[in-house]
């Protein structure tokens, strides 16, 4: 299958007074056409910054130091601002975590969706309004005409996120980047939104890069998974391999999987814990970044940094001693 997006050895750094913050530190990923890639990791693992790098939504002190991003075979990581704005919203669009702050509070929904359509598709105001209502219908909003005329504060969190999705999909992008789109929502609303996204993906054939910290959501949504830690991808695999049937697994992934209480967790047993916390980005450990928190770490791990190595077709792990599954 064709690769829609390829990221090779991407490095995105922040320049600060206290030194370089290596937010994205050698990430390589790829997303296949029509697939959903789930990106998991704790806060500060660089998952959002990887997404921001794709669209070059950068802070002033942030830039790509190394690596390239290829979209449909073309290198987009060296596009200038003008070229980039043609890609944004048209070929690649993004949904953010906080639906309240990512919509403009002083414009109606119609104006915000139409803006995208008029800019990228050259539609007239009238056409855009018509299309905007259609999009709202597509995201299963019950009364699209009325919602189209309302302001963001008049909508609930779930509705706002639907509007965000409608806006993101208005130009039928090839790739949708969803950065924690359901984290701020309730479980019942989350289920509605996840269902909707899966349905739209099937209908429109859009690829999705789905960023979340919730492994349960990944299991629902993703075809492939990339686990990130300290600005690096530590494991990539098809979703079933991560959750069930791979022979080996990265110690961090194992920690993540065992530290969440599941519905069938025995209450008398203690939860497995990954000790310590994510290291400070200015003060990254030598060798494997996960070594200080890893219970399997050896002297080798503290000295040398492991490479992302394929352990079986489609499944790569960045670890010298991947854990055998089932061995606790």
């Amino acid at each position: 299958m064709a690769k829609l997006l390829e990221i090779n050895n991407l490095h995105t750094y922040f320049e600060t007074k206290r030194g370089l913050i290596k937010a994205v530190n050698g990430v390589s990923l790829s997303i296949e056409e029509g697939h959903t890639l789930g990106v998991v990791g704790e806060s500060g693992s660089g998952k959002s910054q990887t997404a921001m790098s794709i669209l070059k939504l950068f802070e002033k002190n942030q830039k790509i130091y190394d690596g390239e991003i290829k979209f449909q075979g073309k290198v987009i990581s060296n596009y200038n601002a003008k070229e980039m704005s043609k890609v944004r919203g048209n070929d690649i669009s993004m949904i953010f975590q906080e639906p309240m702050t990512s919509l403009n509070p002083i414009f109606t929904v119609n104006r915000q969706i139409s803006e995208v359509l008029m800019l990228h598709q050259g539609m007239s105001k009238k056409e855009a309004e018509q299309h905007s209502i259609e999009m709202l219908k597509a995201v299963k909003i019950a009364n699209p005409e009325q919602v189209n005329k309302s302001y963001p504060f008049q909508l609930s969190g779930g509705m706002r996120q639907r509007v965000m999705i409608a806006m993101a999909l208005a130009c039928k992008p090839k790739l949708l980047i969803a950065d924690e789109p359901t984290t701020a929502l309730d479980v019942t609303i989350q289920a509605q939104i996840l269902y909707l996204m899966n349905e739209l993906k099937r209908e429109m054939g859009t690829s999705i890069m789905f960023i979340t910290h919730d492994l349960g959501v990944i299991n629902q949504m993703a075809d492939d998974v990339a686990v990130m830690y300290c600005g690096q991808v530590v494991e990539t695999a098809p979703v079933d391999k991560i959750f069930q049937d791979s022979e080996h697994i990265h110690p961090y992934t194992e920690g993540l999987l065992t530290s969440i209480p599941r519905l069938n967790t025995d209450r008398s047993s203690k939860l497995e814990v990954i000790p310590g916390a994510v290291p400070h980005p200015l003060n990254l450990p030598k060798g494997c970044k996960f070594a200080p928190r890893c219970k399997y770490a050896t002297a080798e791990c503290r000295e040398n940094e492991p490479e992302l190595k394929e352990v079986s077709p489609g499944h790569a792990i960045r670890c010298f001693h991947p854990v055998k599954r089932g061995k606790q």
């Binding site: 969190g157 479980v187 299991n219 993540l256 969440i260 599941r262 990954i274």
Partner: protein, 466 residues
């Protein structure tokens, strides 16, 4: 100790008034954050509270601590008895028992006059109910005594004798020579109690009498306490907040943060060596290093800050802690560390938790019993295994089906359509009927009752009515 109540709430309501949109608007509207909740929380258990945002679970936690004054209902706390705590309202009620009874009767009359369809915004029935419980917790069945003045006097004497017993017991602990005085106090209380028993026998043994009799339990009615009394009682009841970033004062060091409640309750002198030793002991319990004591909150990660919040709550040796989404803002690996810490502390310090969270798997892991809330009402409550094995309310069922899991099977999530209705104008009848797939005609008309279907398993749903 297993099933002894620590906190008992009865018909608790918290309404927040909504600003009138114009001066022509006659009816005052309310956000009904808690709309008649009745539960008991037992000593040493963790009671989990789940529900979507806006269902009133945080409000319930705060009303329990009386951080918001309750609109209606009674919150009785059993961690201390009235004899130990001596709240001012006890004397006030017992001294004027005949007048209090008259007031109650007048309220009951008014409540009867209210028509069925007007009860929507009418507090009269609730008022009568509340005042009844306020009195009955002190008098028991004697509220129906013929000679109320005499009953009040006797009860007051009994109360004073009880206080004396507590005082003497405290003295005895310090100095065992005082045994005689203690025994005399106990004897006096027993004598008065015997007289009270006499009076009880004289009363008509009606159903109403027996019902009122069960309430005579020396618990403290939190809603009746004065501000200063409440402040002192908060030594026993504490809260851990959701957001570890905004709940700590950024200008205080960790040491100052933890010492604040200790000094405020006059347990230690400010700046004393004992205080510092104690703070370090508490920090150690909560997994904080000793040298953190002079650091400021911004120097810590989210998980560490939550530990500071826990240390602060724990410093006063509370009996009851409300954990309001205490782990929701944390990353998964940190979340499991904090959950383990809470669990450990509970066993060591014999704590009782009210654990509020929207994350069902976390709640299931930590709770003994779980209550599910929807739009200000409790819709189901049961032991935590029962809720998950055998959910009786359609809303609980929908919630359970909406959680994405990491297990291989059940990949398809079930969708609960629609949003939560506005709590200002909740649907008539069962509040869930607008989203319920089993909704029947009766659900649109009548609010379902809170029933015990199986032992310890309560539900409010017309479907389960036998």
């Amino acid at each position: 100790m297993e099933n002894e109540k620590l906190i008992s709430i009865h018909n608790l309501k918290k309404y927040f008034p909504v600003k009138k949109s114009s001066f022509l608007q006659k009816e005052q509207l309310y956000v009904k954050a808690n709309d008649g909740i009745t539960i008991d929380i037992n000593r040493g258990e963790t009671f989990g509270l789940v529900g979507e945002s806006g269902c009133g679970k945080s409000t319930l936690g705060r009303v329990l601590l009386q951080l918001y004054p309750q609109t209606q209902g009674n919150t009785i706390y059993y961690g201390k008895t009235i004899y130990e705590y001596k709240p001012a309202y006890v004397e006030r009620i017992l001294k004027n028992l005949p007048e209090q009874k008259k007031k109650l009767d007048a309220l009951v009359e008014k409540a009867k006059a209210v028509k069925e369809d007007e009860t929507h915004h009418n507090f009269k029935a609730d008022d009568a109910d509340r005042v009844f419980h306020e009195i009955v917790h002190l008098t028991g069945g004697l509220i129906y005594a013929k000679d109320l003045a005499k009953a009040g006097k006797l009860l007051l004497e009994e109360y004073h004798a009880g206080c004396k017993v507590v005082e003497e017991a405290a003295k005895l602990e310090k100095d065992s020579a005082n045994r005689a005085a203690y025994e005399a106090a106990v004897k006096k209380q027993e004598e008065i109690r015997a007289q009270l028993d006499e009076m009880r026998k004289e009363c008509e043994q009606s159903d109403a009498f027996l019902k009122a009799e069960q309430y005579w339990d020396h618990g403290i009615d939190l809603g009746m306490l004065k501000k200063e009394e409440l402040r002192l009682l908060r030594q026993d009841i504490q809260i851990i907040f959701q957001d570890p970033y905004s709940s700590l004062n950024p200008r205080l060091t960790v040491g100052q943060l933890i010492s604040e409640p200790l000094v405020g309750h006059k347990l230690f002198k400010k700046g004393s060596q004992e205080l510092e030793d104690y703070i370090i002991e508490i920090m150690d319990k909560c997994g904080l290093e000793k040298y953190f004591i002079h650091r400021y909150p911004h120097q810590f990660s989210g998980g560490q800050r939550q530990r500071i919040g826990i240390a602060r709550a724990l410093a006063l040796n509370p009996k009851f802690i409300v954990c309001d989404e205490a782990v929701s803002a944390l990353d998964v690996s940190i979340q499991s560390q904090i959950l383990n810490l809470l669990q450990e502390l509970k066993e060591k310090e014999n704590l009782t938790y009210l654990f509020i969270s929207h994350d069902l798997s976390v709640v299931k892991y930590i709770s003994d019993r779980i209550g599910v809330m929807y739009l200000g009402n409790m819709v189901e409550s049961a032991r935590s295994e029962d809720i998950f094995k055998n959910p009786l309310h359609p809303y609980t069922e929908a919630l359970l089906n909406a959680i994405p899991t990491t297990d291989a099977d059940n990949k398809e999530l079930q969708i609960l359509e629609g949003d939560i209705p506005s709590p200002v104008n909740p649907p008539k009848g069962c509040k869930f009927h607008t989203r319920c797939k089993y909704a029947m005609d009766i659900c649109r008309e009548k609010n379902p009752e809170w029933m015990e279907i199986e032992p310890q398993h309560f539900v409010a749903c017309h479907l389960r009515k036998k």
